[in-house]
């Protein structure tokens, strides 16, 4: 009995993968997202499916020598659940990368765990700029978008289009504050003026009083520095109170699922910045149709970005034949990204993936000719312009 055990132990010690570069020849991708809460529609199960699509396509096209597995979990927008799960994945689950990570508090918490365990992170859903500034680290890629890009797109366009005076309706937590701060800077840089702001509890239900305050300020534009149901409720109620007649609303973070939930009648004419639109070109249409066939909803930028980031990651793993975090990260930063999701995409030293963003305006009901035909693309914001320049970065990794 003892001899067998000893033999087994010795065998394992020697057979230990000193040769194989990829630990037990399996690349495990973890999708840690909100499957049931406030953000589940704009990412959630759709992001998991997008990951599955990416893996399937990668295997079909590249025929890698290693196996690929996907695990997923619901973090319920709670930083502690997410950190716990990530820790468990990295420590005992042999997961190589944790991805998606919507909700800023979740992303920041998992970034700490990733750094401690030296595992790669692909952030798609979370938005706040501190991820690539004060809190940046070298195991994180911030892929799809961030609050700077949103502000830079929407706030800039609206100010330039004549919306000179602004009033912000802000969700009272870090994300809202970040979005308001980034947008304020953009507005003032472009010759606009911020008349004031009001913070609403997160999550909020009734915004009528805050909207009335916005109304009494007389600002031309009411900037909505919130997301999800806060945004949709604000918009709905603004329409009810006739505020939308004299003032325009700028949804600083909006997704196609929000427009779908609210309807065109309410959202028509609104500006928004998105990283992706399903109806941009043949490539996007083809991919989105595949997505739609399963999910019955058009993909949001986060879900498309999830596919793109996972595919990029797998390509890097194959290229360096390793799942070692540093090696893969170096390869990912070296290789540009040009797929249906990102044009001229590149991952910078601070972990920020910069790519073209799109400024869109919501169509009127009359202009919309088919289901999910919601956006008019007003401009493509080139990668170099869309995101915060490295010269302004507060990330210690950036050499200036």
């Amino acid at each position: 009995m003892k001899r067998t055990a000893l033999a087994a132990a010795l065998f394992t010690a020697f057979a230990a993968p000193a040769m194989a570069q990829i630990s037990d020849n399996v690349v495990r991708i973890g999708v840690l997202t909100d499957l049931s809460g406030t953000y589940s529609d704009l990412t959630g199960a759709g992001a998991v499916y997008a990951t599955e699509m990416a893996v399937a396509d990668f295997i079909a096209k590249e025929k890698p020598g290693f196996k690929i597995e996907i695990v997923s979990a619901d973090h319920q927008n709670k930083a502690d659940i997410a950190a716990n799960k990530a820790r468990e994945w990295f420590e005992s689950g042999k997961v190589d990368t944790a991805t998606e990570l919507v909700t800023t508090s979740v992303a920041l918490a998992v970034m700490e765990v990733g750094k401690a365990k030296n595992k790669l992170l692909l952030i798609n859903g979370a938005a706040s700029t501190p991820i690539t500034n004060e809190k940046c680290n070298d195991v994180t890629v911030h892929y799809t978008y961030d609050t700077y890009a949103l502000a830079n797109g929407t706030a800039k366009a609206v100010t330039k289009a004549g919306g000179k005076t602004w009033f912000f309706l802000t969700a009272d937590y870090a994300f809202g504050h970040a979005l308001e701060k980034d947008s304020t800077k953009v507005v003032t840089d472009n010759g606009g003026q911020v008349l004031g702001s009001v913070r609403h509890p997160f999550p909020g239900q009734d915004f009528s009083s805050f909207l009335l305050k916005a109304q009494s300020s007389g600002a031309q534009v009411i900037g909505l520095a919130n997301a999800g149901s806060d945004t949709t409720n604000s918009i709905k109620q603004a329409a009810e109170f006739g505020i939308s007649k004299k003032q325009s609303l700028a949804g600083l973070l909006m997704f196609i699922t929000d427009v779908h939930a609210l309807g065109l009648k309410t959202t028509q004419g609104m500006y928004l910045t998105d990283s992706f639109y399903w109806d941009l070109n043949d490539e996007t249409r083809a991919w989105s149709k595949r997505y739609f066939d399963k999910m019955k909803k058009m993909p949001t930028g986060i879900q498309a970005g999830q596919y793109s980031s996972v595919y990029h990651y797998l390509s890097a793993v194959k290229a360096v034949n390793s799942d070692d975090t540093a090696k893969v990260m170096a390869q990912m930063k070296k290789t540009p990204i040009n797929d249906f999701f990102a044009k001229n995409g590149k991952i910078r030293d601070d972990g920020r993936m910069v790519h073209d963003m799109y400024l869109a305006q919501v169509k009127t009901p009359a202009e919309s000719t088919k289901p999910w035909d919601y956006y008019k693309i007003k401009a493509t914001i080139p990668a170099a312009e869309a995101f915060q320049p490295l010269s302004e970065s507060r990330c210690p990794l950036v050499k200036k």
């Binding site: 468990e88 420590e91 700490e112």
Partner: protein, 319 residues
């Protein structure tokens, strides 16, 4: 509140503790240690809560305030001031006691549902403060809390080392609960729970006893929260949310009110279920928790340990 209590068994102290310690010693070699640590923290939380509900008969719907509040205090001390973990935990327990004194002082004037509602209201105020104050980090939470070196000597970053430490803290807390229950003070609490007017007529200053029970319960709940913040190196708003207050009620109810080990079993079950289910069934977790609640209240009021104890005592024990 007059909860349905199973007949208490007459297990000698050392049986109980040896048993728990043994299980605790073997477990980390079988189950992932960080998961076990989570169970231990919530078990302590539930034991502290049970002291108040199961033994003093007071249903506090705001216990998350102590759990989460102390988590923040300890987190801040360890991160910003560089306190060593044992000092951080002491501060956390102390904060819990302090907050408990305030809550208790205000809530005990009223009885029954009013008591519960006051605790809920006060806890909401704490939630609001946690949301607004800069040092808590609001929605992001207090992140990157260092585990530090115990007594400046033992590095707690290793999972197993941390586990032993948490197990010790848990056993210590459990011991405090046990001694409190099986003491003259505990007997009077039970008397107050079962028949308050009679206790008053016997001359006991009922309010003082309730307050003391409240403070002890809050302090241990705070200790649990502080420990949790060191395990996960994170303190967040979830810890002070009323859902967490509801959760600890569920754990205690499921495990068995008024039993020593009930809350431990309840905590292990609920934390286990959550972990397992989160992967597989996502949105159904809430439904399942609700079903457990309903089933417990309707048919299973004595909880797991309570029912087991009742089965055993049908074999002839006397109470």
């Amino acid at each position: 509140m007059k909860p349905v209590i199973a007949a208490a068994g007459k297990t000698p102290t050392w049986h109980l503790f040896l048993g728990v310690a043994l299980v605790g010693a073997i477990a980390p070699f079988v189950v992932y240690p960080t998961f076990l640590m989570k169970i231990l923290c919530f078990a302590l939380f539930a034991c502290a809560f049970n002291l108040l509900l199961g033994y003093a008969g007071l249903l506090s719907f705001g216990h998350a305030a102590f759990f989460g509040g102390s988590a923040y205090v300890t987190g801040w001390l360890c991160k910003q001031v560089g306190a060593t973990p044992e000092l951080g935990l002491l501060a956390g327990a102390g904060f819990g006691a302090l907050l408990g004194a305030v809550f208790g002082g205000l809530a005990i004037r009223r009885a029954g549902i009013y008591f519960s509602m006051i605790t809920l209201g006060l806890a909401q105020l704490v939630f609001f403060l946690a949301l607004q104050m800069k040092f808590t980090g609001g929605e992001d939470g207090l992140q990157g809390i260092p585990r530090g070196k115990l007594f400046g000597l033992v590095d707690l970053n290793d999972s197993m080392t941390m586990y032993w430490f948490v197990l010790l803290v848990f056993l210590g807390g459990l011991f405090v609960v046990y001694r409190t229950i099986h003491s003259p003070f505990g007997q009077i609490l039970k008397a107050i729970r079962d028949n308050e007017p009679r206790a008053i007529s016997l001359g006991y200053d009922v309010d003082r006893y309730k307050l003391l029970a409240f403070v002890i319960s809050a302090s241990l709940a705070g200790l649990a929260g502080s420990t949790k913040s060191l395990v996960f190196q994170l303190a967040s708003l979830t810890d002070v949310h009323w859902h967490t207050s509801g959760q600890v009620v569920l754990m205690t109810l499921l495990g068995g009110l008024g039993t020593v080990l009930g809350p431990v079993v309840g905590a292990a079950t609920i934390v286990g279920l959550e972990n397992v289910l989160a992967d597989k069934v996502g949105p159904w977790v809430m439904v399942i928790m609700g079903v457990i609640f309903v089933v417990c209240v309707l048919a299973f009021r004595r909880g797991i340990v309570g029912e087991l104890a009742a089965l055993r005592s049908r074999g002839g024990a006397d109470h």
